[in-house]
């Protein structure tokens, strides 16, 4: 009798275990497919791309309206036209302003002339005016070398770290 009860208990436990195994296997097979696809192919910064702002101009988030230069979109070091979506209270820029901005960090790898490639973990911009001078007075985070060639020397001098 005890043996049969134990047997029944054992079977129910096993049943529970097998249910769990089934439950675990279904999401794992899905994630196996997604692992193959989760190597994201990062592409250009185009219209409606949300970007982070890394200077102290007052804006927090910005949406790209137009990528000047480039049919497919902007890359690291390019200038874009952006609209401010979120801003700090009492900053130099308000929500809804349209400004030029230069991309200082991009998730898409950018090749350099010596065969190396740089890639950042996020997309970030620094707001500039029409002449190319930054609106803010500080820049946070690393910036790449490419800005030197694009003549954004002021941003390079304000940066904490270069690439």
């Amino acid at each position: 009798m005890a043996a049969s009860i134990l047997f029944r208990v054992g079977r129910s436990i096993l049943g529970g275990l097998s249910n769990n195994a089934l439950g675990a296997s279904r999401p794992s097979s899905k994630s196996a497919d997604m692992d193959f696809l989760s190597q994201q192919t990062r592409t250009f910064i185009q219209m409606r791309t949300n970007l982070k702002v890394v200077d102290n101009s007052g804006a927090k988030r910005v949406m790209c309206i137009q990528a000047l230069k480039g049919k497919k979109g902007a890359r690291l070091g390019d200038v874009i036209v952006a609209s401010v979506k979120e801003a700090h209270v009492g900053g130099k820029v308000k929500k809804g302003d349209v400004h030029y901005a230069v991309v200082v960090r991009a998730a898409m790898p950018r090749g350099r002339c010596d065969g190396s490639e740089v890639k950042f973990d996020d997309n970030a911009v620094v707001l500039i005016n029409k002449q190319g001078e930054p609106i803010g007075t500080r820049v946070f985070g690393p910036v790449p070398h490419e800005l030197r060639k694009k003549k954004h020397l002021k941003i390079l001098s304000l940066a904490e770290q270069i690439a």
Binding site: Q39, R105, P109, D114, G115, S116, E117, V118, K119, F120, D121, D122, A124, F140, G141, P142, H145, R148, K149, E160, Q161, I162, A163
Partner: protein, 213 residues
Amino acid sequence: MMSSNFLPQTLFMVPRCSAQCQPRKLALSALSLRRPGLVVARPFGFNFAEKDKKLSFLVSAETNPEAEAVVEESQENVDSVESEEAEVDKPPFKPRIKLGDIMGILNKKAIEASDSERPIPDLRTGDVVEIKLEVPENRRRLSIYKGIVISKQNAGIHTTIRIRRIIAGVGVEIVFPVYSPNIKEIKVLKHRKVRRARLYYLRDKLPRLSTFK
């Protein structure tokens, strides 16, 4: 007469090719007959070359390897074929250097050349390395990049390593070609035990795992 030589070839070729390519072949043969100085051996002109030994066409330097086999039987020599044979004649007892081996030989020579200037340490995924890079646009100061090797792609002279590090709060991944002359020094600082060849999972993990002082 030109036309008499012309006709048997077309008679031979007509059943082989379709009506569409016929005018093209005729045009080519007409061209080449007018200028016996040069012929470009195309794949369809293969039997062309065999048949026209009597007309003694010279084969140009851009022939494909199959046509070259045909050319070697014939008497004519062009520059590239000459240098091939000269290269083979110089070391008489070494095995014949085939066309397919040349890229491999050049690759090895380039690797040896850069190795003699600056030896490369043995790099593996999971090493924490420090790289000193000379950037020509950067006032001649050596940039220092530290980080963990998350992948190594072997491709001969363009063997690259991917270094990941968290700089100022942001993750940065840089791909360096290991044999580049711009790299002045590679030093392995530490080694982290990893059970994988590519550590792409570090991108999703806490930044703490990718920071190196």
